[in-house]
Symmetry: C2
Subunit: 234 residues, 2 copies
């Protein structure tokens, strides 16, 4: 697999795209890894949204919350898309909100499209790859996503070479992860590839957060559980 | 192990204690599990802090952020301690902020002390058990914590029966987890014990978030990695 390595000047400025009804774990998993890295590597985090209003993780439609529950924390942007600084890495989380119609995600899709030529890397987590696919930027690239949401996501990217099984996939400067907790593994893999002391950073921080990273990008019992045939392997 | 089971009336109202410089993953790991449960079980979340001001996850002291990084999202409380509703479960996250002196955590320690008699269960994640230990409520109980932070935490609870190795420990109505990502495992174990369809909920949601839960509470390679002798096993 062509895995870009840029160990002499590791990334420093990370942005996370926030939008209505994202899955909060898709945001905080990768950030927990960056938090560990920041102990020894200067790391800037920008939480980006259309406006500075707190972003609700609650679905827009009542039928997406059939029990009328209130398990929806709000997230606080640090910058708008308009005043976002230059980024090294843009992280795109998934969640139910990625299914919203184009007009409700217009600002987000435009920001991704406009920003891609200016960033070094894009990382998607879970169904965040569907949002990226909707911009066309994944066309003819290899990518993966959450296997439980496979059918819906694949529909957003008919020209994408969707890969299964996969914990994460790297194609050029676009890194796409499988579902939710794969956000830890893709971020650890990214750190390992990008930082001069990557493996030590991973080993040390994984121990601190008491996680055993999946270091094999093809580890994925969930494709079989969801009946997804093997496809687009290299 | 005495594991309370209350499968006929599962918990519904969950509170999370927010405080300066907590570890955000300790909050969002358990919440990600509750988010899955809420699809079929009405679940209310209350994010509790001394005031309604956004809670910064940034350490108070500059020396705790040696690289001058900005990897510190803020969290938005939904209720103050004073207007918090009755809870079934109080979740206490860990993080560097739990080391602050008593006067900076006065409101939090008082809220825990006052609330314990009124909740059905307390769940701590990572070094959240140190905060609970500081109230005296863990005295003579079995409990665990993050193994990398073991020495510091144990110092806050000299009368606690600290358990190693342990992914999580249940003593009466107090559930304590090991470091950070153990927040997923303790919450899955709690759901399994508390909900009539617990095992199905766990299996289904773990598949959706592409996580393989550690279902053995004694699974813990991190105790040995940190040179912590086996202690207080049943």
């Amino acid at each position: 697999m062509a895995q870009p390595v840029n160990a002499t000047t590791p990334p420093r400025n990370y942005g996370v795209l926030l939008y209505r009804a994202l899955d909060f774990q898709d945001v905080f998993g990768p950030l927990e890894v960056l938090y560990g890295i920041s102990n020894t590597h200067q790391t800037n985090l920008f939480l980006l949204a259309e406006t500075l209003d707190p972003v609700s993780t609650q679905p827009r439609m009542a039928e997406m919350n059939p029990t009328n529950s209130s398990v929806y924390p709000t997230l606080v942007p640090t910058h708008t898309f308009a005043d976002a600084p230059d980024l090294d890495v843009l992280i795109i989380p998934g969640g139910m909100g990625m299914r919203a119609p184009d007009d409700l995600l217009k600002a987000e899709l435009k920001y991704i499209t406009d920003t891609y030529p200016k960033v070094k890397y894009i990382i998607t987590v879970c169904t965040g790859s569907a949002l990226l696919a909707r911009t066309g930027l994944l066309d003819r690239r290899r990518a993966t996503t959450n296997k439980t949401s496979w059918k819906g996501v694949v529909g957003f990217g008919p020209l994408v070479k969707w890969v299964a099984p996969a914990r994460w996939v790297v194609d050029g400067n676009i890194w796409t992860a499988a579902g939710v907790t794969a956000g830890f593994d893709i971020m650890f893999a990214f750190v390992k590839a990008m930082y001069p002391d990557g493996q030590a950073l991973v080993d040390n921080w994984a121990k601190s957060i008491e996680y055993v990273p999946h270091e094999d990008s093809s580890w994925d019992p969930f494709s079989a559980m969801n009946g997804i045939p093997t496809q687009n392997q290299l």
